[in-house]
């Protein structure tokens, strides 16, 4: 009906303008002043912690003049070569990596919790961690027996590349298993993910059996996570995917809000649930896959951050993603600073810090806020 399509066209542009007006008004109305305050506080905390992380050093690396070194790279100030290298080649990539990875993991967790409608969901549910772990194990243990051409092509990128491919492979496999006739069942994905976890665990065990001592140690350290080896190269490769995922997430906010009522109700509200599921899963696979590839296994950030935020700002996904990115970055930077100082000059793997601190802290928060859950 021609009349009807005219109406649709009108509605879309009207809808768009109205939506923007509504959002802008919402930001400044009474109830949402708190939301803006929270956001500003998080931004401030993030800026502060980035500064601290850049300046943190001890012993001989303590008296690094940060500002001159920062400016010195562009020739705007005089700084010693050593200071410049420390700030630009060692600390900066590390701080940026921790920021991005923290944000990526936290946002992934938030997306997963919205998608599975469960505040206990974490990025591992779509198989990305299990697959990445298996990929890393294969690369570490079987890397030596790969044909020279392949090993040479990847070089030191062998483990990250395999981890990344493993993560994506697992997710796509689960997605294919759970999608029939164009509809994806998240419940099936959840159950299939459990089965896949068992399978990858078994395969990992088999491969580990053939590992040498060195390889076992490498594997253990990989699974405990670290940002110590961060480099600009790694960032250039991994950052685009993580940033892409981070930017895509807010667009899922309204859909995930509606899906809290259940998929049927969300569909009735006009949400394209299948597209939402697809984008959500791709986003999480991209963000988490890239993170795990460059830092190894860092757990806990994905569950804790969105949970904490929900207790403070409520479950509306529109604010949740931005805040989660900031809080995730803050958390990981803080954990990294602890990892660097605790047994200096040696370093703790960062996954241990996030788990050891995150666990008890999370428990105490839950105990105090039981009535809200």
């Amino acid at each position: 009906m021609a009349g009807r399509s005219k109406m649709v066209a009108l509605d879309r542009s009207e809808r768009g303008r109205w939506g923007i007006a509504q959002t802008t008004r919402a930001l400044f109305s009474a109830g949402d002043r708190r939301a803006v305050a929270l956001l500003l506080r998080l931004i401030l905390a993030a800026a502060l912690i980035v500064t601290m992380a850049l300046s943190l050093g001890w012993g001989a690396a303590d008296e690094v003049a940060v500002i001159p070194a920062l400016l010195g790279k562009f020739g705007w100030s005089e700084a010693s070569l050593r200071d410049t290298v420390i700030i630009w080649d060692i600390r900066m990539p590390r701080v940026l990596t921790a920021t991005l990875v923290g944000a990526a993991l936290a946002v992934s967790g938030a997306v997963m919790q919205g998608l599975f409608r469960n505040p206990l969901a974490d990025p591992g549910l779509i198989g990305v961690s299990a697959g990445a772990g298996l990929g890393a194990v294969v690369a570490i243990v079987l890397g030596g027996v790969l044909p020279a051409a392949i090993a040479g092509f990847f070089g030191r990128w062998l483990v990250p590349a395999f981890a990344f491919l493993g993560g994506w492979g697992a997710t796509l496999l689960l997605f294919a298993l759970a999608t029939r006739g164009g509809r994806t069942s998240v419940a099936t994905m959840l159950l299939a993910g459990i089965a896949l976890g068992a399978l990858t665990g078994a395969l990992t065990g088999i491969v580990v059996y053939y590992a040498t001592d060195d390889q076992l140690r490498d594997l253990t350290f990989w699974s405990m996570g670290s940002v110590a080896g961060a480099s600009w190269q790694q960032l250039f490769v991994a950052a685009p995917m993580m940033l892409g995922a981070l930017c895509a997430a807010p667009f899922l906010a309204r859909a995930l809000n509606a899906m809290a009522l259940g998929e049927a109700a969300a569909l009735h509200l006009g949400i394209d649930t299948q597209a939402t599921k697809r984008i959500a899963i791709l986003t999480v696979a991209g963000a988490t896959g890239a993170s795990v590839a460059i830092t190894g296994g860092i757990g806990f950030v994905g569950i804790v951050v969105p949970h904490l935020l929900r207790l403070v700002q409520g479950p509306d996904h529109r604010g949740l993603f931005v805040n989660a990115a900031l809080l995730g970055a803050i958390l990981l930077l803080w954990a990294d600073m602890l990892a660097r100082t605790f047994i200096a000059p040696a370093e703790l793997p960062i996954g241990i810090v996030t788990a050891a601190l995150g666990g008890p802290f999370f428990m105490s928060v839950l105990m105090r806020n039981r009535h809200l859950l």
């Binding site: 509605d11 109205w18 509200l269 006009g270 949400i271 509306d316």
Partner: protein
């Protein structure tokens, strides 16, 4: 403009749930679907809302319902389900605001908060906006959902075409005062030009507000027509398989269907 189905059939799990159902609901009227358990009433509604894959055709306002994109369809019809489980601690205000998700064409002058408040007042929950949905009683939660659904199709007509309310047992968890409130809302919506289709359990209430009644039995439409015709002794007894006696209350003129127990009808 109306809502029609033609030869609607549904198979689920190897069983034929609906068989050759052809119905028509007219805008400006309240159409009730009644029938015994397992007769296919909720399945019929689920076909209308797009949750089941059926064979046959359904047309809404003259166009096949599958030709509408999800966002567009959300402009034209809102669905009130029987039960909603919310997994996050949203407030009542947030739940009702979800109706604005698809950015439906609204009364542009007003801010969304104002509209949400008006919807809540309409269902008698004026002061409930800041409360958490999960802390409400079943009946209150159902009314919050009704407020959300109403907000989605706030104006009964859009560009001179009727909008539709699909209600799945909208009064089941409510006390009588609120049951009457919901009935009033549905009739009001229809009077202003919208269409209402409600799956109903309670025959007495149905008789109070339905203009057209569809009686389902065994996956087929056993009877359809005005309430007085369908909600009569013979069609009801046949469909429900037990003796049902109907009487019109002398004072108000409303139909009263006595409770049937132990195969014996109790006359009031």
């Amino acid at each position: 403009m109306d809502l029609r189905t033609k030869d609607l059939s549904l198979d689920l799990g190897g069983r034929r749930i609906l068989e050759g159902v052809s119905i028509q609901a007219t805008a400006g009227e309240v159409t009730a679907i009644v029938g015994p358990n397992g007769s296919g009433k909720t399945s019929l509604l689920k076909c209308l809302t797009g949750e089941y894959r059926y064979s046959g055709t359904i047309s809404l306002n003259g166009a096949d319902i599958n030709s509408y994109a999800p966002a567009e369809l959300a402009l034209w019809r809102a669905v009130l389900p029987q039960a909603i489980e919310l997994s996050f601690p949203f407030t009542v205000h947030e739940v009702v605001s979800l109706a604005l998700t698809s950015g439906v064409a609204m009364d542009k002058g007003r801010a969304s908060d104002d509209l949400v408040q008006r919807a809540l007042e309409r269902v008698g929950l004026g002061g409930y906006a800041p409360r958490r949905y999960q802390t409400l009683s079943g009946g209150e939660q159902q009314r919050v959902q009704l407020a959300r659904v109403l907000l989605q199709v706030w104006e009964s007509t859009l560009y001179d075409l009727p909008r539709w309310l699909f209600l799945d047992e909208p009064v089941s968890a409510l006390d009588i005062a609120h049951q009457l409130l919901v009935i009033d809302i549905a009739q009001d919506f229809a009077r202003k030009g919208g269409g209402v289709i409600a799956v109903m359990h309670d025959l007495n209430l149905t008789s109070m507000f339905a203009d057209q009644v569809l009686l389902m039995q065994g996956g087929q439409v056993a009877a359809s027509g005005a309430a007085e015709e369908v909600l009569a002794d013979e069609p009801l007894s046949r469909a429900y398989g037990c003796a049902v006696v109907t009487r019109q209350a002398p004072a108000t003129g409303a139909w009263l269907l006595p409770q049937v127990a132990n195969g014996r009808a109790f006359a009031p």
